[in-house]
């Protein structure tokens, strides 16, 4: 009953409030969609806008559409977007500074003019009266739609179905990578590498052995500087590399300093070592081991 009331032609104040609040939010969402630096954020704000739209559908008495909006759009399509964003592993922030000269101002100008035009158009269109969907939705909104779809719009419906299937197939075709030539054998790969002349051995593994083994941590070269090759390109692109070379050195320095202290107070060895040995043990890393071994020597 209440829903019916909501669908009535005269919009209740409640709806008005709802409109103004959510409308504002929707606009903000839309704006942030186009202004956010990172695609992910845009996607999320767009999703928000869509949910609000879904609410508006409901408020306009289009229950079916409202639900579909949430399920299909927000649920499926936006998720699809997110997946793609992840897949593409967006070289994240695409800067908003325009490559084409004046494009931004042109776009803004066009947008503004266009908006003004649209609104002006709607404004001077005579849309005063609005009889609600009361009668149309009398037999239930879904039934009403179904009736139309399967009678009046049946062909359009069928064709749309065909379209969907085609789209699915097309998507598969497009995304499916066709192998044009036989996969290169290991020998060929090796030869190619030699011919290319860079990085003859296989790429070094990420992580600093026995201390870190996460993929996002570059391995260290003998001189202690991080090696670029050790981390995945995507991660590098995202700038999600955790450089630990500094802290390793810092720890070494700290340890030496502590060992100084050890050498000073030589006399008392009771209990102290056990207490002292814990901090190196806490981080079970190479440095730690070194420290540890040295400690054992000291013990013996």
């Amino acid at each position: 009953m209440t829903t019916l009331a909501a669908a009535a032609s005269t919009t209740s104040t409640g709806e008005a409030v709802q409109f103004w609040v959510l409308g504002t939010v929707a606009v903000i969402g839309a704006l942030s969609t186009i202004l956010m630096k990172k695609a992910v954020h845009s996607a999320l704000s767009l999703a928000g806008t869509m949910i609000i739209l879904a609410v508006f559908y409901l408020a306009n008495g289009a229950y079916f559409l409202g639900v579909v909006q949430i399920v299909v759009y927000t649920g499926a399509i936006m998720m699809l977007f997110l997946f793609v964003v992840m897949l593409v592993g967006v070289t994240a922030a695409d800067s908003l500074k325009d490559t084409i000269k004046g494009q931004r101002w042109l776009a803004a100008g066009c947008g503004l003019g266009f908006g003004i035009l649209l609104i002006a158009g709607i404004g001077n269109a005579s849309l005063k009266t609005s009889q609600g969907l009361g009668t149309a939705n009398a037999g239930g909104n879904v039934e009403g739609l179904a009736e139309l779809i399967f009678t009046k719009y049946v062909f359009a419906f069928e064709i749309t179905g065909a379209l969907l299937i085609t789209a699915a197939v097309g998507a598969m075709v497009l995304t499916h990578r066709e192998r044009i030539e036989r996969p290169a054998t290991q020998r060929q790969l090796a030869e190619r590498r030699v011919r290319a002349g860079r990085q003859l051995p296989p790429l070094p593994a990420p992580g600093v052995y026995a201390r870190h083994n996460a993929v996002n941590i570059p391995g260290l070269l003998p001189d202690g500087t991080p090696s670029e090759h050790t981390v995945n390109a995507t991660l590098r692109g995202r700038g999600q590399i955790k450089d630990v070379s500094r802290e390793a050195l810092a720890e070494l320095a700290a340890l030496e300093q502590r060992s100084e202290e050890w050498l000073e107070r030589d006399g008392d060895a009771e209990g102290g070592p056990s207490k002292e040995r814990t901090p190196p043990a806490r981080n079970g890393s190479a440095a730690g081991n070194v420290g540890g071994t040295r400690a054992e020597e000291e013990v013996t």
């Binding site: 490559t99 084409i100 494009q103 042109l106 776009a107 066009c110 947008g111 003019g113 266009f114 035009l117 649209l118 002006a120 158009g121 001077n124």
Partner: protein, 648 residues
Amino acid sequence: MENLIGWLVAAPLLGAAVLLCGGKRLDRLGHWLGTLLAAASFVIGAVLFLDMLGEDEHHRAMHQHLFSWIPVGGFQADVAFQLDQLSMTFVLLITGVGTLIHIYSIGYMEHDERRRRFFGYLNLFLAAMLLLVIADNYLLLYVGWEGVGLASYLLIGFWQHKPSAATAAKKAFLVNRVGDVGLSIAIMLMFTTFGTFTFGPVLEATGETSEGKLTAIGLMLLLAACGKSAQVPLQSWLGDAMEGPTPVSALIHAATMVTAGVYLITRSGAIFNAAPDAQTAVVTVGAVTLIFGAIIGCAKDDIKKALAGSTMSQIGYMILAAGLGPIGYVFAIMHLVTHGFFKAGLFLGAGSVMHGMNDEVDMRKYGGLRKYMPITFITFGLGYLAIIGFPGLSGFFSKDKIIEAAFAKGGTEGWILGLTTLLGAAITAYYMTRVMLLTFFGEERWRNAATRSPNAPSAEPAAETRGEHAEPHPHESPKSMTIPMIVLAFGSVFAGGLFSVGDRFVHWLEPVTGHDHGDSPLSATTVTLSTVAVLIVGVSLAWAQYGRKPVPVVAPRGSLLTRAARRDLLQDDFNHVVLVRGGEHLTRSLVYVDHKLVDGVVNGTAASVGGLSGRLRRLQNGYARSYAVSMFGGTAVLIAATLLMRAV
């Protein structure tokens, strides 16, 4: 009989064609062929003359219609000939003198390897000249008119390897071309006025037209005459034309071609009679040239150039006479004929002198030659007496008649003209005596004139072949050269008398040109006496200057007038500064304009289009987003449009 007329032209034309196309194999006897054909055409002329004498004097004109030349609508030009007394006079003069000069050239051009071509050109000239005088319409006359121009171009520039010769030839042709423009405009005027340009109808129709048109035609004809006959202001080419071989100077630039202008004016007498203003113009031109040429003649040291000056002034006489109208036509022609004789003779004499003097042309390096080349001396001397109008010789009669006619013009104009002609006669006497004295009398300056400048103004290549020795050995010329001189000398002695006894010549030409004795303020005798008087003055002046005291080998600086006269009275300088320089600048600048402006406009547009497209191309930067912007903007515009439409 009338069918023979065509052959007058055909014979030499044939000769020209054969000689010029014949190639080397004709070198051996080419000159004989040429001479033969010239003679042939003279014989034909003579035959026709006799035949003509048979007729009574008003039906002597013969006609021959060969074929319709340019039949276009109302414009009907035929190739047809008309041989009346006037034409006949010219035919005889041209062929006669022409033949003689052919003979002379055989000797003169002996050492030139291109003699065959020379004779070819001479024949071509004869053909053109004859066509000029026997044509029965102005257009055909025009053909001959330009034909002689071409021949003169080829002959003046015969020694083409000499830049001076080539330039002179070009100059002659160009100046003549200016005159030809006059003639062609005259023809157009006739066509528009009378619808035809055949002599008969045009000259008969003059009565019906406005005087203005006739004056215009007359002036245009005068322009043509000035070009061809080297009258002021188009006289400048004649002096340079002396670059050509001497026989050419004798034939073309003394006896025949240069007199074509006189023929034209006399032929168009009817037009001029009806257009007094045009006549005045003619007379003025004649008078001016008369003095102009005479002055130049006094100053030149180059014997041929001096004679050229005198030619100018003598033709000035003729033009003046022709300008006098019916009073003068006959005497103009008469003087023309006598002049043809003695001037040709003089030139041949000069040629003979140069022949004997290693082609030295500077009279100051002659002197005392009478002993060495007697025949030349005598013939030249007779020619000299004739031209200065020594009583009894032909020049006397003709020139005297012209002076009379000038007075007979009547009024102040008559007086002015008369006195001018008298003055001219005096100057003529002066400069001819000068030439005579410098060349044949006085001490032998060529002896001490040890070295001559290797390139004298008109050194002829034959000289190089003969080799340059410091001191020339004057010698008499071969028979082939002397005989024509002798013949011409006879002509210059007796022709005048022959013509004027019992006014034969007057009666002969009257039916064509018409004649009336004006009313001379002076009696014939007074005129004659005054002529003789001025003659004596002139001669004695010259004697005083060149006969008594020795002549410097290097010309003295001389008075301003002399220096101007040496430079053809600055005519050339004027032409050079105004026409040549100006023309060069004009063309240069036009070339620039064409390249930069006319072309630049086009290239400019092309460039701008290219630039524009380049800019537009930048919009297509390949970024999907900027395309999207334009799409979006487009949509916006569409919406705006629809909204506006709904609003309206």
